[in-house]
């Protein structure tokens, strides 16, 4: 937009255009008015000159008619010749009166007096001769004509009237030229003005359309931004709600699982207390019966060791739980490194670390050749894959040779790693709780503490991904690890809770 180059904004340039357009329109109207009134004045002048010319010609023709009528009568003396004479005289009078009325030119007016007196003289001369002939004085009439006065008058009148006619002709010619010029000017002015107005309107239209387009585009992008923001707020809220639910669930599990061994420790301590009380009673009594002796021996050899065994095992269990919780919590605080990681290498390393178990159970591991690379934390990825493959090797379907397939799919900046086994599978109602801390599912015929998958989920979330499971009991299980192709720079810290 040219106005932009001048540093004007939309409102300023629009206002400028409106003002310029109004000024143009005003000038156009004024000049058109002026030119058209000029043209009409010229036309009036021409019309006037034409009337003057006509009157002059009429007078001249009337004079000629009257003279020829007079001559005819003088020669023949017959009455009919008087008719054109009288008509001619009337014409002269009418023409003269017209001429007098219509004359405007000063030069013409100056001529008018002499014309009038000469005409009067000529009419008088003709009237005199006609009068002579009527009274039979033919000779006197001839004498008057012979005096050449009439001829002189006529020559004089012709000269004068033709002067008027000539001047009128010149004026008409000039007027016509002027008229053509001003008409041309008017037409040029109108055309130019119209073109300018059309131009201004076009520019104004362009600016308005352009601006409207920009407004629409701005509104669209604002709408897009709002939608995106809403989407992000929604996602974030969902993630926070999920994180909050998990924290509550975690707190519940931790408090329950820590309380269970504590109940044992307190309980068996009380049992010890009551046992020692019973023993004290036994040793203080002097005459003890055989039955009492047996009961005391039972307490000392069975009850007390059992209580101590439970107290010890519960303490050990509690220590293990606290250790596991601390490990998870430390994992959450670990600084993640962003490296370009070849998933093929990660998977190969994880599988290699489990090589012993894999060979022992004769499990066949198939790793796809085209695993992509990601920018992520190598150690976290190795732990994630290691835990899942370890589970797959651990929970085989009895009587079916184990098979594990690892593949990946890439789409829209994310990589979905899948680890599929043909093991015993997980029941539908257990599929959510397997990711919870200290929870296990299915037949508990393998050693385990219920930490592995909880650890996997927390790690996957910390590197910006998610883990899901699809399984059919008795058929097999697939774990899907959905990872960002590039881990966010601050991944880990946000999810540390």
């Amino acid at each position: 937009m040219p106005a932009r180059a001048l540093g004007l904004n939309y409102a300023q340039s629009t206002l400028l255009l409106v003002v310029a357009g109004a000024v143009m329109l005003f000038l156009l109207v004024v000049s058109s008015f002026k030119l058209s009134s000029e043209t009409s004045a010229r036309a009036d002048e021409i019309a006037q000159e034409r009337l003057v010319r006509i009157a002059a010609r009429q007078t001249q023709i009337g004079l000629l008619n009257a003279e020829s009528g007079q001559r005819g009568y003088l020669v023949t003396g017959e009455e009919p010749y008087l008719e054109p004479y009288y008509t001619g005289v009337d014409e002269v009078r009418r023409g003269l009166s017209d001429l007098e009325q219509r004359i405007v030119n000063a030069e013409d007016r100056a001529r008018m007096d002499s014309i009038k007196s000469v005409i009067e003289a000529k009419l008088r001369e003709m009237d005199t001769t006609v009068g002579f002939v009527k009274s039979g004085m033919r000779d006197e009439a001839t004498e008057t004509v012979r005096s050449d006065r009439g001829l002189t008058y006529m020559t004089e009148l012709r000269t004068q009237l033709e002067a008027i006619t000539g001047r009128a002709d010149t004026a008409i010619g000039q007027g016509l030229t002027d008229l053509a010029t001003s008409a041309r000017r008017l037409s040029i002015t109108t055309t130019l003005g119209s073109m300018l107005l059309i131009g201004f309107t076009a520019v104004a239209f362009y600016i308005v359309a352009n601006n409207t387009g920009q407004l629409l585009a701005a509104r669209q992008s604002l709408e897009d931004l709002t939608n995106e923001l809403e989407e992000r707020v929604k996602d974030r809220t969902l993630a926070l709600t999920q994180a909050n639910d998990e924290i509550q669930r975690f707190a519940y599990i931790v408090s329950h699982d820590l309380r269970a061994p504590l109940v044992n420790i307190m309980g068996f301590t009380s049992e010890l207390e009551s046992a020692s009380g019973q023993l004290v009673t036994y040793f203080r009594s002097d005459q003890s019966l055989e039955a009492e002796r047996k009961a005391a021996a039972e307490i000392a050899t069975a009850d007390i060791p059992e209580s101590i065994k439970f107290i010890r095992s519960s303490s050990t269990k509690m220590d293990g739980l606290i250790g596991a919780i601390l490990k998870l919590s430390r994992e959450g605080r670990r600084e993640f490194k962003r490296d370009r990681v070849q998933l093929t290498e990660v998977v190969a390393a994880s599988v290699a670390s489990l090589q012993h178990q894999i060979e022992e159970h004769g499990v066949d591991v198939d790793i796809a050749l085209d695993l992509p690379s990601v920018v992520s934390d190598r150690l976290a990825l190795e732990q994630i894959v290691g835990n899942i493959v370890d589970n797959a090797v651990k929970y085989l379907m009895p009587g079916r040779p184990g098979r594990i397939a690892i593949a990946a799919e890439e789409s829209g900046g994310r990589v979905k790693l899948s680890i599929t086994d043909n093991g015993r599978g997980i029941d539908d109602h257990d599929q959510a709780r397997i990711f919870e801390l200290f929870r296990r599912a299915g037949k508990l015929d393998r050693p385990g503490d219920g930490i592995g998958l909880a650890h996997v989920r927390s790690l996957v979330r910390m590197i910006g991904g998610d883990v899901t499971v699809r399984s059919q009991a008795g058929e097999g299980t697939t774990f899907f690890i959905d990872l960002p192709k590039k881990m966010a720079i601050h991944a880990g810290k946000e999810q540390a809770a």
């Binding site: 329950h256 269970a260 504590l262 307190m266 009380s270 709780r433 296990r440 508990l444 219920g450």
Partner: protein, 149 residues
């Protein structure tokens, strides 16, 4: 106890923590209850015992059972077991005593909604735990348990 009953009540204790199981058993015995106690340590074993191999629960027909159920089992949630018991035609009349370490309001409500008969929180204070179990033992001594159909 239940000498008049041709089919004495069997106490089924579903509790994964061996120590808890032992403490419960000792205190029940201390209350003078001599009924058989079947200790089960996981959800899968519980199903095997209660529903039998055909998983219909027909194996529990004609049995008189009192079920002590811990909610936090390693392999499944006790709530699932409770639901299975209360929807099984052979087991639904057997009284279920829920024993757990948490006192979460919603969980208590959920258990009663599913048909639990008693809900007991395992207190960390051993005396009150022992008392609760002994009272439960007294309760078992006088209660009439319907024989499952």
């Amino acid at each position: 106890m239940n000498c008049t009953n041709a089919n004495p009540v069997t106490i089924v204790m579903i509790e994964d923590d061996e120590g808890h199981a032992r403490l419960i058993e000792r205190n029940i015995r201390r209350a003078g209850v001599t009924n058989d106690i079947v200790a089960i340590a996981s959800g899968n074993e519980a199903f095997e015992y209660l529903l039998g191999e055909d998983k219909t629960g027909a194996v529990s027909a004609k049995r008189a059972l009192l079920i002590l159920l811990d909610l936090n089992l390693p392999d499944m949630s006790g709530v699932d077991i409770l639901q299975k018991i209360k929807t099984n035609p052979h087991l639904k009349r057997s009284p279920v005593v829920v024993l757990t370490t948490t006192d979460d309001e919603r969980e208590i409500q959920r258990c009663y909604d599913l048909g639990a008969n008693v809900y007991i929180t395992k207190p960390v204070n051993y005396e009150s735990f022992a008392n609760a179990i002994r009272q439960l033992g007294l309760f078992v001594a006088v209660m009439q348990v319907p024989v499952a159909e």
